[in-house]
Each structure stands twice: as C-alpha cells, then as structure tokens.
C-alpha cells in the first residue's frame, strides 16, 4: 500500500498545476478589442488563480468571522461567496440553510431578514399525471413571472400553460385562473392587457394537449387529433439581408430542424403566443407568432419614438425548423441568411396585436469589420481556452429602455448592446469568462452603470451548489459599464454565488432575479432553484454581500426532484418566488443591520418608468426606478451614511430630528421648523458637493430630497 502522505503531496502538486493552467480572464485572445477607448489589458482579466473550493471553517475562523460581523458599522458584515473580493471568509462558514429536513410541503425552512407572508401550493391538474413521474420531468414545471393589471396580477408561466394569481392583497394571494396550453417553457411578459408566452418544446397552435398525428415521435399512438388549427395571423419572417463572410459551421449543429427527421407539422407552435388578458378569468389567444428557432425566452423592447408598437426580442438556442415547416427558415449555419446567430425581433402593433409579426433577425454576434456572422467565442469553463464553437444564440436578453441598452446573456458570451435602432441593436462590447459555463441572464443596476450576468452551470437541473463545487461557478459576475457612447465597455468587478452548501438532491445554480429598489444601493433578489431565494447588495461590484435569504430543504432527501425557485422578483413592496414544483411564495423583507426599515419603506415608494403600462413589471424589460421627495427616502440615505460612518452621527441625528419636527409641527411652528431643516439640508448638500464617491452622492441626493419635500410643505 502506498503511503497516504505521499499521495497528499501528489495531489497538492496536482492542484497547483491546475491553478497555473487556469486563467480567469474575460475576452478570448482572438477577440477584437472593444470599439473606441479599450481599457488597459490588465483591467479585463481577473487575476489567474486556483479554482477555490473552500473547506469548512475551523472554530477559530468562525469566531473571527463572527467578531467581524458584530462590528455594527462594519460594511463588510454581509456574507458572500466569490472569487474576488467576495466579502466572505476564505473558508466555508456553517449556515442555517444546511441540513434542512426534506419534504414537498413540509420541508424545513431557514430564513434571514425576510419572511414568508403567503404561500400557495401547486394547483390541481398542474402535476405530472404519469404514475411513474420522472423526478426530472419539466412537463408541468412552473417557470417565470410577470406582473400587471395595475398591481392585481402575478402571472406565472408553466411548461403546461399559464397560472394567474390575484395579488390585490399580496398576503392573501389566491389562484385565479389556469390556462392550459402546453409548449414550454412558458416564459411570460405583460404589457397592459396583453400577455406574451414563449413556446419552445412541442406546442400546438390551438393550445391543444393532445399530440398531433403529424408529430414525428411515437408517443402519439392512438391519440385523437383535434380539428386542424387555423394558421396564425402572424406573417412569415422575411429572411434578413446579410452580407456575411463564410464561416465554419459549428460542430453538432445539424441542419435537420427542431424535430430531427420529423415531417413538417402544420399544427405546431414554435415561437411567441400573445393573449388578451383583459378578463383574467378568461384569457384569449390573439396571436401565435411563429419563429424559426422557437422561443426559449423573450423580452419586451421599446422604441422611444414609436408609441404605437412594442417589440419582442426572441432568444433561444433550440433547433431551427425546416423551410418545409416554416417558409424562410434557414437551418444551415453557414448560409448568409441563416436563422441562427441572432435574435428574432417581433413587432407588436398595440392596437392590432393579431397583426404581430417577425420583422427582423439581428445578427448581434457579427464582426463589424468583416461581417462574419458568428464572430464570437466563449471560453471553456475551468481552462479558459476559447470554445470550439462560435456563440450562436442568446439564452436571454434584458432590455433597459430608459438607457436604450440591452444586456445579452448569450450562452458563451455576455454582451452589451445599444437599442436605439430597435430592429438592429448594436453591439458595444462582449465578454467571456473562464468561470462561466453558460451565460444565462442579465440585470442592469438602476443607474445603468453595472451589468450583472448569471451563469446557469449545469442547466438548472443539476445540483451545482455542493461543497465540492467551485464558489465562482454557477453564480453571478458583475461588470461595471465604463466609457461613454459607443465606447461603453464592460469591466469585471466580482463574483457572487449563494454561500450555503446544498445537497446532491437539490438542483441549484444562479437563476432569475430583479432589482430591489432601495435608493442609494444596488440590491437584487435572485432565485437559486432549490438553493432558495437570496437578496444581495452589489453596490460595490468587487465586494458583493448577501443580506437576506429564504431556503427550504430538498423536495426529496434521496432523489433529485426538480424544484426550487425559477425566479424571485420584487414587485410593489413584496418579493415573489415562482417555485417550480411547490407553487408561488410571497415574502417581505424585514429590517436588519444590513437593511433598515427606512430603506425597506423607501423601496415601497419607488415608482417605475420606461417599460410597460403603469404598474406592469417584466424583469427582462427593466423599468427605471424613481423615488418621490419624501422624508422616508431621505432617512434611508441617512441610514446608509450612518452604516458606513460617512457622516458624524450627531449630524444624522440632527437631520432626523429636524424632519420629525417638521412632521409634528403645528401650523404656527411649521415655518420655523422647515427653515431649520432647510439649513441643515443645505449644509449636507455643500459637503456632498465638495466630496467625491458614493457617499457624497448619497449626501447630495438626500439633501435635494429634503429640500424638495420642504418646499412642498412650505
């Protein structure tokens, strides 16, 4: 037998060799430099290093970390897990989320700084009726969420249809309507009385549940075929003119189309459905816009100069159907008019949504100089070497109409694009990262100075948050947006992944999230499937910290049953979690050292502009948050200045007292109280103007908020 100690040495050496071979950097060497003022090379890459897999903390390390966390004003108190400046400890801290009891509806729960206020179980009929259900079946999985109907509706997508929840009183959230319309994955958006739904699996135009007799598979034996569906009103996509240079077809990209050798199926739906939801108890399909590559996800985009139409960017990497099934589809990736290597753009006339049609196919990966359509390559996770295949599609894109920007999470790459020309968005920069397996989703901060990308390593159905997994794989990478105009580019800031270890029977990886509109900070809520919901602060992109969480034990202790949160979004004061297998959960944030009651209240006062009708929320068409001139908002800023010790406490106390005096003043004393408050605010504005940085900006906005409110009260 070999001496185990010698073995140990062998493996330490092995780990070091791997470290040398592992270079974490963003752009592949062959990638062209970003347009305009490219940043210095050393700024693009994360430092080369070992793939960190932290070991459990020793009692001494735990004590030291707890002591640091108990420093009340210490900004580093939050927990994080990341490769660079992750804010966490170098070892793994024990976590209340670990060791929770398994169960579908009776699982153990752990929560920090957020509480569950309503929970609905998965509705009857939306389970897999198969007596031997595959634990990993997605046929009835809940998917994404959108919100609308003036705050009354949470719309939950499902691979089998749509689920409408009445959230007029969020704490009494109730099931309202089930729309049965299989197709998967049922990504949803809302604009006024219209709802949009992605179809990528096998769906029928008429939402029928029975397989078509023309469908190539063998499961259709004996299935009665419903009457032939009317072809959709939507027009055929015109193949875009593309002056592309020849390129190598990616390996494995067969030209057969979405269903292999199956014959054309005229009843098949593969694209984006549009429903009229004016009556949420009886939604009606108004259009079924067929695309060549189906729709894995879609995102609303607007043109500020066009109020009559909205646009839908369609993303996905599924197979391209044959021209026999849909005219104009070009499966050959080497063809100059290929249906691959881009996003489809649907135009939706708001007055005549039934006339919605694909109007453009934007080749967003094209090289601006050579015209080569597939010019981008990702990096292979771990080694960082350029991927064998060019990036050929986005998983999801997030538009930010307020800034005319688009964040593209495009399987191998992260993209920043300008959407002033809605039909042909222009790529400003692109990044790749050796820690990322699959660029899945993108989220801007409110000021459009940061872009957060999430990595869906393992595809969402695999348990990627176990103790053996690298801490920066399957999480988020935050990039700062630097430069101006067409010279805007992305600069890596830091990683963040759920810090709690999960079991082998919990699918877990970063997934969909949204901003929590606390003024003065960049805070996001995010789903990690069965890893639960997390809320973190990425104001400092190199030092990202978790500030709240909620988690349940696995659905099953022995077997991986697909479940957990698909998305966790903030909407009008509440967090909504779409649970794949268990239903819908509603949360409220609770105050803590990381987030004050004033900050929570200020977030509730935020209003949105830039995407959607009043009170619609689609996380992938981001609205810009604005806060009213309210003392609550001013107090939230003061709490932040106090937390970071950026202003003497006596001045913060004086400002808070002066605001309180104004609020409680009688008619006769009000004028004097306002004058005194104005004076304090003017001093704050002056100090803010004289300094630089985040806290100086907070001082200025706090001062102007107070002054505006004071003027209103005068």
């Amino acid at each position: 037998m070999t001496n185990p100690r010698n073995h140990f040495r062998l493996f330490v050496g092995a780990a070091l060799s791997l470290a040398v071979a592992t270079v974490f950097a963003q752009n592949p060497p062959a990638a062209p430099p970003a347009a305009g003022n490219a940043p210095p090379p050393q700024g693009r890459g994360n430092t080369p290093g070992q793939i960190p897999i932290p070991q459990p903390c020793t009692p001494e390390q735990i004590a030291a970390a707890q002591a640091a966390a108990n420093q009340p004003a210490d900004a580093t108190a939050g927990r994080g897990r990341g490769g660079r400046g992750g804010g966490g400890t170098p070892c793994h801290m024990p976590d209340p989320r670990e060791g929770l009891k398994a169960g579908k509806y009776d699982a153990g729960e752990a929560a920090l700084n957020m509480k569950l206020v309503a929970s609905t179980k998965q509705p009857e009929g939306m389970f897999d009726p198969n007596p031997n259900p595959g634990g990993r079946s997605l046929d009835y999985a809940n998917s994404d969420l959108a919100f609308g109907l003036n705050g009354r509706l949470a719309l939950q997508g499902n691979f089998h249809g749509l689920i409408f929840y009445n959230i007029e009183d969020p704490a009494k959230t109730s099931l309202q309507t089930i729309v049965t319309c299989p197709g998967g994955q049922g990504d949803v958006s809302i604009w006024g009385h219209l709802a949009f739904m992605s179809v990528e699996g096998y769906g029928r135009i008429d939402c029928g549940a029975q397989p078509s007799p023309n469908a190539g598979g063998r499961g259709g034996r004996g299935a009665a075929a419903p009457g032939a569906a009317t072809p959709p009103a939507a027009g055929a996509a015109t193949p875009p003119a593309a002056g592309a240079a020849a390129q190598t077809p990616p390996a494995g990209a067969g030209a057969g189309g979405g269903r292999g050798t199956a014959p054309p199926d005229p009843a098949r739906m593969y694209g984006v459905r549009i429903f009229d939801i004016t009556d949420p108890r009886k939604p009606r399909q108004v259009a079924a816009v067929q695309t060549c590559r189906g729709s894995h996800t879609h995102s609303i985009v607007t043109d500020p100069n066009d109020k009559d139409n909205i646009y839908i960017y369609v993303s996905g990497g599924a197979g391209i159907r044959s021209a026999d099934e849909k005219a104009g589809c070009v499966a050959d990736p080497a063809a100059p008019n290929t249906s691959s290597f881009g996003i489809d753009v649907i135009k939706v006339p708001l007055a005549r949504p039934e006339q919605s049609a694909v109007v453009s196919h934007a080749y967003i990966f094209a090289d601006a100089n050579t015209g080569q359509i597939g010019s981008l390559r990702g990096r292979r996770q771990g080694t960082g070497e350029p991927s064998q295949n060019p990036t050929s599609g986005c998983h999801d894109v997030t538009s930010y109409p307020w800034a005319s920007l688009l964040g593209g999470a495009c399987s191998g790459n992260g993209l920043l694009l300008d959407t002033k020309n809605v039909l042909q968005p222009k790529r400003l920069d692109d990044v790749a990262d050796a820690a990322f397996a699959f660029w899945h989703s993108a989220t801007f901060n409110n000021d459009a100075t940061k872009l957060l990308f999430s990595d869906e390593w393992g595809g969402g159905t695999a348990p990627m948050c176990q103790s053996i997994h690298p801490t920066m794989w399957g999480g988020n990478a935050v990039f700062d947006i630097q430069g101006t105009g067409d010279g805007r580019h992305l600069r890596f800031g830091g990683y963040f992944k759920l810090p709690a270890w999960q079991t082998a029977s919990e699918n877990c990886v970063a997934h969909n999230g949204s901003l929590v509109p606390v003024p003065g900070r960049d805070i996001m809520s995010q789903a990690f499937y069965q890893g639960g919901a997390t809320v973190f602060d990425f104001t400092d992109s190199a030092n990202i910290k978790e500030i709240a969480y909620f988690d349940r034990g696995p659905i099953d202790a022995e077997r991986l049953i697909i479940g957990g949160y698909w998305s966790v979004y903030y909407y009008n004061g509440y967090l909504y979690g779409s649970e794949i297998a268990r239903g819908l959960d509603v949360f409220q944030l609770t105050p803590s050292q990381y987030l004050s009651q004033n900050e929570i209240d200020a977030a509730k006062l935020a209003t949105r502009e830039g995407c959607g009708n009043t009170n619609d929320l689609n996380a992938q068409c981001q609205s810009h948050y604005v806060w009213p001139a309210s003392f609550v908002v001013a107090r939230a800023y003061l709490d932040q200045l106090a937390r970071e010790k950026a202003l003497p406490q006596e001045r913060i106390d004086a400002l808070n007292a002066a605001m309180k005096d104004v609020e409680s003043a009688s008619a006769s004393t009000r004028r004097a109280a306002i004058t005194r408050l104005d004076g304090l605010a003017a001093e704050l504005a002056k100090d803010g103007a004289a300094a630089k940085g985040l806290n100086a900006a907070r001082m200025r906005v706090c001062a102007s908020t107070i002054q505006k409110r004071a003027a209103e009260l005068r």
Binding site: A287, A462, A504, G583
Partner: protein, 241 residues
C-alpha cells in the same frame, strides 16, 4: 388555492358536524364578506378572488376560449428513435462508471479520489434513474445490465463510446494505490469523453429536442465536462481535448 382550501375544509368538517369546524366556516364567511365590504368599488378582482379558480382552454388565435372542468394531461411525444437508443446506451455507459467507482474504497486511500468518486456515484446513479424513468414513461424497453457490466437488448449491446475494454477493467481492478488512481482517472476521463461524444452524436442526428431529453443531455454534457477538468487537475496534467 388559498380560496379553495377553506371551501374544502368547510365541507369536510361540516360532514363531521364539528363545532370547531362550523365556527371556522363562519369565520371564513365573515372575513370574505368583510373583505368585500372593505374595498372600494371598481375593484372587480376582489369579488372574483372569492370564486373558485377558472380552468381555461384557449383556442387558436382569434378563437374564443372555453372553460373546462379539469386540466387535460399532455405527454411530450417529440422524440425520435435516436433519443431512445441514446438513453438505452447511456444507461449501459453510466453503469460502467458505477462499477469503477465501487472499486475505490478497497483499491485506494486517496481522499480526493474518494470525494470525486462520491460525486460521480451520485450524479451517475441519479441520471440512470432519470433515464429509466424517461424510457418507462414512454413505454420503451430498458436495457438489462449483467453483473459483469455487459448489457442486453434483444441480444448483446455493443460497447458505447469511451467505455473501458474488459482488459482495461481487469487492469483497473488489479491495481492498488497510486497505480489505481492513475488508471481510474485516465479511464474515467476516457469514459466521460465518450459520453460527451454520445451527446454530440445525438444532437447531430437531430435528437435531444424533446424537452426532457434535451434538458438531460445538457446536464450530462455540462456535468461531465466539469468532472473532466477536475480529473485532469487531480492527475496534475493540463486538460486535453
């Protein structure tokens, strides 16, 4: 659902003539009335929230929707022969990985190899279960696995890409310590690369389009790629394609 539950409870409890149940029923009724009265006019949703959920079957675009009594079931039938053969073959393929991992406790003391083995054991056995469920759910034949790792499907199944030859398996079983570690890691890398080839071949043949198998193959692809990188790390060698 929250609206449904009290109704169900009421009928069940009323049948039992429980006093507590009746008072619960009364409380539910009262709170519903109170809620309705509390809200200002012009909010029809508050009235509808008390109703049972509607199940709606839409029609083709432009056609009316109909209210139905239950959610019709759907089975994804969008798979082809290549998908079935892939699943049958991959069960055979994964089974060999389990045989290899089973040797670890008796053949080596290396802690890192045991950790890696546990990870492979968990993912491959879970995936075998998922593949069996996929096949049975679609009324397809399951391969019969023999104790020696060979598989039967109306006769012998040939080896799958990357599978170790009987000679390689014998050599692995005969090795101990560092030799075993070396053979295990190189063998498992060869084995995993075969799985990646199987996924690529399936995709090239137009398979992996059905929702569940598409998802499954992505998972196999991502997971085994990661494990290959880690195994090269344990060998102390750069990753080779």
């Amino acid at each position: 659902m929250l609206r449904l539950l009290p109704i169900l409870n009421v009928s069940r409890i009323t049948n039992r003539l429980s006093i507590a149940g009746l008072s619960l029923a009364a409380a539910v009724g009262l709170s519903a009335c109170h809620r309705g009265g509390d809200n200002t006019a012009g909010h029809p949703a508050s009235a509808s929230s008390a109703q049972a959920p509607a199940i709606v079957q839409p029609g083709a675009p432009g056609q009316a929707s109909t209210v139905v009594s239950s959610v019709p079931a759907f089975h994804d039938n969008n798979f082809i022969d290549a998908d079935v053969k892939f699943m049958q073959g991959m069960i055979h393929h994964h089974n060999q990985a389990l045989l290899m991992v089973a040797m670890i406790p008796t053949h080596t003391d290396t802690v890192q190899l045991a950790d890696m083995g546990r990870k492979i054991q968990l993912s491959q056995s879970g995936e075998i279960q998922a593949m069996k469920e996929w096949l049975t759910g679609r009324k397809q034949e399951l391969p019969m696995i023999m104790p020696d790792g060979s598989a039967m499907m109306h006769g012998d199944m040939g080896p799958m890409p990357g599978m170790l030859t009987p000679g390689q398996m014998k050599a692995l079983d005969a090795a101990r310590g560092a030799t075993f570690d070396e053979l295990f890691l190189t063998g498992m890398i060869q084995h995993h690369k075969g799985a990646l080839k199987m996924v690529a071949d399936l995709r090239a043949a137009g398979g992996a389009k059905e929702t569940n198998i598409g998802d499954f193959t992505n998972e196999v692809d991502n997971d085994q790629r990661m494990e290959i990188v880690r195994m090269y790390g344990l060998l102390g060698r750069p990753v080779e394609k």
